[in-house]
């Protein structure tokens, strides 16, 4: 299985736009949207839902006030500040560890599974897709990402496809780490800003930490050529291969509004650059 994941560290650098372009250009693949916090890939894909379900990722502590004697033992052991002075449990702070339930002398606290989000598989104009969305205010995006990957692998198995393209989330924490395990390569998308470079350095650290080969794309490269050159220097020092640079092109947004990728516009300069990046990457994978 060739599993490619798009990451960036910094948000809004163009992960989904590039993942969408690769989705158009790759023959025979499954798609996975691992950005369950802000899932956008499907907006380019015209999905028809095939299967879906509710995801119960975590448990939360629930207290029966009739049994509670206000002894305060639960508050003493909670390390997540989830129990206030009146011994009410704040569900947004609760991690569902169960320490409070364990120490409660009157069994007033139980752990119960909560609905955290919805997963789905879909048929799309560009191939099978697995994705998910967290419910507003719910947690455990890491576990939901792991589930999306599992669904996508199963789709690939069923369709006997050997390529999986995953769109990741910004950041370097829980959902990103959940998305990295088991992938064969990571394409990092950055932009020529000091923030972009700073964040690239941190996400590259994470990808290296997990020992996955990484490749770099500089998006909107002409917006600041001085910093693009600085990023090239950084990549060279860190032995990070650059797949190419994409110029700023308002057609990317115009095509997005039509639910399409820039590579579907033959005139788009960004689309042309993305096609070249795709060919270079395909060459490397051979």
């Amino acid at each position: 299985m060739k599993h490619t994941l798009f990451l960036s560290g910094k948000g809004g650098t163009g992960k989904t736009s590039l993942a969408g372009a690769f989705a158009v250009l790759t023959q025979g693949k499954v798609l996975a949207d691992c950005d369950v916090d802000a899932a956008n890939l499907y907006l380019l894909l015209e999905p028809q839902i095939v299967s879906e379900g509710v995801f119960q990722g975590i448990k939360l502590a629930i207290k029966d006030n009739d049994k509670c004697t206000a002894c305060g033992k639960c508050r003493e052991v909670c390390r997540f500040r989830a129990i206030d002075e009146q011994f009410n449990i704040d569900s947004y702070m609760c991690e569902g560890c169960g320490a409070c339930a364990y120490v409660c002398p009157t069994d007033a606290i139980t752990l119960s599974l909560v609905d955290c989000g919805r997963w789905y598989t879909a048929a799309t104009r560009l191939g099978p897709l697995a994705g998910a969305e967290l419910y507003p205010g719910e947690e455990t995006s890491g576990k939901l990402v792991a589930m999306v990957k599992e669904k996508a692998m199963k789709l690939a198995e069923e369709a006997e496809l050997q390529t999986l393209l995953s769109d990741g989330s910004p950041g370097i924490g829980c959902p990103v780490i959940a998305s990295i395990s088991g992938v064969s390569s990571v394409i990092l998308v950055t932009e020529p800003t000091l923030s972009g470079l700073h964040d690239l350095e941190r996400i590259l650290g994470v990808v290296e930490h997990f020992g996955v080969p990484a490749y770099l794309v500089i998006n909107k490269a002409d917006l600041n050529t001085t910093i693009s050159t600085q990023i090239e220097g950084f990549a060279q020092r860190r032995k990070l291969a650059i797949l190419g640079q994409i110029p700023y092109d308002d057609k990317v947004t115009k095509m997005m509004i039509q639910g399409k990728s820039a590579v579907e516009d033959q005139e788009s300069p960004a689309g042309k650059a993305m096609r070249e990046i795709f060919s270079r990457f395909a060459e490397i994978l051979k």
């Binding site: 560290g9 948000g11 169960g98 700073h198 650290g205």
Partner: protein, 281 residues
Amino acid sequence: MRITIASGKGGTGKTTVAVNLAISLAAHQPVQLVDCDVEEPNDHIFLHFRADQVRSVEKLLPQVDENLCTYCGKCAEACEFNAIAIIGNKILVYNDLCHGCGLCAMVCPTGAITETPHELGVIESGEADGFQFARGVLNIGEAMATPIIHELKDELDPNHLAILDAPPGTGCPTIAAIHGADIALLVTESTPFGLHDLRAAVGVARSLSVPVAVIINRYGIGDNRVESYCAAEGIPIVLKIPFSREIASLYSRGIPFVKELTEWRDRFIVLHEALKKVATS
């Protein structure tokens, strides 16, 4: 007042708004800016900041004394995060999965488990550009960002106007940054991706009973879908920042645009007045 700047989608301009708002208001009142995007903190790039104080944020990890362990399996059974496994006469602790709750040590009948601190990241605080500034930095390879955000909120001084720069997304770290705010100021762009993620961010803020207001950044690219959505939902649009190569260029070089385009300082002050009204209405 506590203002959390969030977005759902990344790269819409949270940091730009946070930094420029802090600089504009600091001339008139005590301000505290807190960078809660601990995975990819960027505010300091735009500031003259030298940390006066640096402290560790830690979680406690179980250490098993195999001389005392009887491999009874009670710890593995109790752990809700599958962070401990017993395979025959071997006990494995998965540090990445551990949340540091301490339940394993509580249930161990032989006292074989003790806990030792493990650094998740650091909090740096001090002064920058005429206001108080604090930021959290998650260590590379660590998954848990929220404990750092909760400890960052301990830095808040009630005598200051607090501006919290939230991480992108709608998951636990974003919730931690919005929880307890008087208003969530959501920065978006009027594109399909921007609107999709704005809806999700509005959902999070509303589930936490925090009022919302919207800034449209890069106004002029995209279409009018965000304005239609906000009108239908009764969400005030409190500022539009036009798409401008000059603003983009200043951003790319780490320069807050109110330093060059000084007429924007008054607009941020007017914005603050508008936010006070939304927060109290």
